[in-house]
């Protein structure tokens, strides 16, 4: 009898400990990035592009990477959205319980697990085919493919939550599937759809391995779709690779900027979802 109680207590302690350990690692990561990044962060970092000698520790900033990352992730999210919403609607409205939809879902889940470096390599091959160099366009294509499964599955889940009765009511009024999808389902699922978009954007802006091959890196702001673009994750990576402590400090600051963007996106999507839900029929 006592052994059972002891085992219960032991494992409960272990479980609480494990949970604290997992949450503690989050605190440790955020703490480290803030503690090392904050002292190196200043206004010039955020508002200037690298000047001559920047990578030796002279003045300048990472505006090129901030703008480049926003362009890359913005373009990729737009492109992924144009593919994801129709696919999610197809899977949930047109082909809801069919075998084909099951298979497509499996394919998307598997796609989700493909490492980002493989997306980079694939994007690189596409670029060779199309004959474009490392550029904003190349990065956008690779990132859009990376975001596609994340966004589609997120949207699909949001659409699946729409009460069946609402769809039935719409069909009963004589609306077609398309009309039901656009005027009832999308409106009803809007908070979830936006959350999926923001989640994909956050994943896109933080990914380094896929843009390494495809977007290149430059100190200037990108001026066309076919010029190379810098990105925040690569700014962190390259600046850490230099032997100068002053430049490495800036890598920590760049990591802090990236972390703040990702955290802000996550908070915004939570708030947005909460606010938009007020108008959703339950």
């Amino acid at each position: 009898m006592n052994r059972r109680k002891a085992e219960e207590a032991l494992f409960k302690t272990l479980m609480v400990g494990a949970t604290m350990f997992v949450l503690g690692s989050l605190v440790l990561i955020l703490g480290t990035v803030i503690w090392r990044g904050l002292p190196a962060l200043n206004l010039a970092m955020l508002t200037q592009t690298p000047k001559g000698g920047y990578y030796l520790g002279k003045e300048g900033g990472i505006l090129n990477a901030i703008v480049g990352s926003l362009y890359l992730a913005g373009g990729a999210t737009g492109l992924a959205l144009a593919m994801s919403l129709p696919i999610a609607l197809y899977l949930q409205i047109y082909a809801a319980r069919s075998r084909a939809a099951e298979l497509a879902r499996l394919a998307l889940d598997v796609l989700w697990g493909v490492p980002s470096i493989v997306y980079g390599a694939f994007g690189f091959i596409i670029m060779l085919w199309l004959g474009i160099r490392a550029s904003l366009m190349g990065g956008i294509i690779a990132l859009a493919l990376l975001e596609l499964p994340i966004m589609t599955r997120g949207m699909e889940e949001a659409i699946a939550m729409v009460p069946f009765a609402l769809k039935e009511a719409s069909y009963a009024l004589g609306a077609t599937r398309l009309e039901t999808a656009l005027k009832v389902v999308v409106r009803q699922a809007m908070p979830g759809l936006l959350t999926a978009v923001l989640l994909a954007f956050g994943r896109g802006i933080g990914d380094a391995a896929s843009v390494l091959f495809t977007a290149g890196y430059t100190d200037r702001l990108p001026d066309s779709l076919f010029s190379p673009a810098a990105s925040l994750p690569l700014a962190v990576f390259f600046q850490l690779g230099t032997p100068f402590p002053a430049v490495q400090e800036r890598a920590y600051a760049a990591a802090l900027v990236l972390t703040v963007i990702v955290l802000a996106l996550s908070l915004i999507s939570r708030r947005l979802a909460g606010r938009l839900t007020e108008h959703v029929i339950r």
Partner: protein
């Protein structure tokens, strides 16, 4: 349904003549159905397409040496045309295995705690935080690894383990830097926590409530119920969660690259540096087009990654899909 498929209407609105071409509603509906189904097919074919593209680009390497030699040779001299992937494959396996040994116990304990024990308030607080952990970019994990994990391994773990367990080759610390298999494994472990926890927690929660009640009614404690009933019932799903975590760790690039040391040698101890496949690709993409067959070799490495991850992912997803389907029936 209206009979005409396309109608052209002339009407006066606001004083201007306007001509509007409108498609029949039913036709519009069906056209959308076709177009979206084509898009979906395209997305579903993306994985085979990736495999095919990588295979075609990697094929020239097969003309140089047979697959067996590529996978088992330890010589890596791109300039001389010698491409042996063995040290890199073994490097990946070492780092991933260490990561899983560190990650699995706390992840599963957390998943069980959140699904079986935690009050709903704790759950509501912990779950978003764990999701946040999943959203942190991998370079940020890398920065954290360099600033915290590497010094920790160098100053604390390596001297201690070397002193007490140094007679076992696995724990001998010859590498003074801290950059190596253990640092990579620790960083990766934290990266896969959220994946294993999220999937395992969902699977465990989905176990039928009646089973728990039956066990508790027989006088079993909660832990006994978890151990003998819930975990036994959900074992395939929990395994799938672990496998998903494994394949994520297998393909992770930037964070590992930054802390693992990148020396192309087969590691002998957890403190030795390693050179995983992903790091190999990321470090050398710049020279890939200037050395003959180098691009084929690196894209071949990407193909190996894709195939391994594909196999693990498909298997675990099939298990998870089946579980969910059984649940709904």
């Amino acid at each position: 349904m209206e009979k005409t498929l396309v109608s052209i209407r002339f009407g006066q609105r606001g004083g201007f003549w306007n001509v509007s071409l409108s498609l029949n509603r039913g036709l519009k509906d069906r056209l959308t159905g076709h177009m979206t189904s084509v898009l979906t097919l395209g997305a579903a074919l993306l994985v085979p397409l990736m495999g095919l593209a990588l295979f075609l680009r990697a094929r020239p390497i097969l003309a140089i040496s047979p697959v067996k030699e590529l996978l088992l040779s330890t010589t890596w001299h791109p300039l001389e045309g010698a491409f042996g992937f063995y040290p890199f494959i073994v490097g990946t396996l070492w780092v991933t295995t260490v990561a899983m040994i560190i990650a699995v116990p706390p992840s599963l304990l957390t998943a069980v705690y959140l699904s079986e024990y935690a009050p709903s308030r704790v759950r509501a607080l912990a779950k978003p935080l764990i999701d946040l952990l999943a959203g942190i970019p991998s370079v940020v994990y890398g920065v954290w690894g360099m600033l915290t994990v590497v010094p920790f391994v160098e100053k604390a773990v390596a001297p201690t383990l070397n002193r007490w367990l140094g007679f076992i080759p696995l724990f001998r610390a010859d590498n003074p830097t801290g950059y190596g298999v253990l640092a990579g494994g620790l960083v990766l472990a934290v990266m896969v926590f959220p994946i294993i926890i999220a999937v395992a927690e969902e699977v465990i929660r989905a176990a039928p409530q009646g089973l728990r009640e039956a066990s508790l009614a027989l006088g079993a404690t909660r832990w006994q119920t978890v151990k003998h009933v819930v975990l036994r019932q959900t074992m395939p799903g929990v395994t799938a969660a672990v496998v998903l975590g494994f394949s994520r760790a297998f393909g992770e690039t930037m964070a590992v690259l930054m802390v693992v040391g990148n020396v192309p040698r087969v590691p002998r101890s957890i403190f030795d540096p390693a050179y995983p496949l992903t790091a190999l690709i990321a470090n050398n993409y710049g020279e890939m087009l200037s050395i003959p067959s180098y691009d084929a070799a690196l894209l071949g490495a990407a193909l190996i990654l894709l195939l391994v991850v594909l196999a693990f992912n498909t298997a675990s997803r099939l298990v998870l899909v089946r579980l969910v389907r059984n649940e709904s029936e």
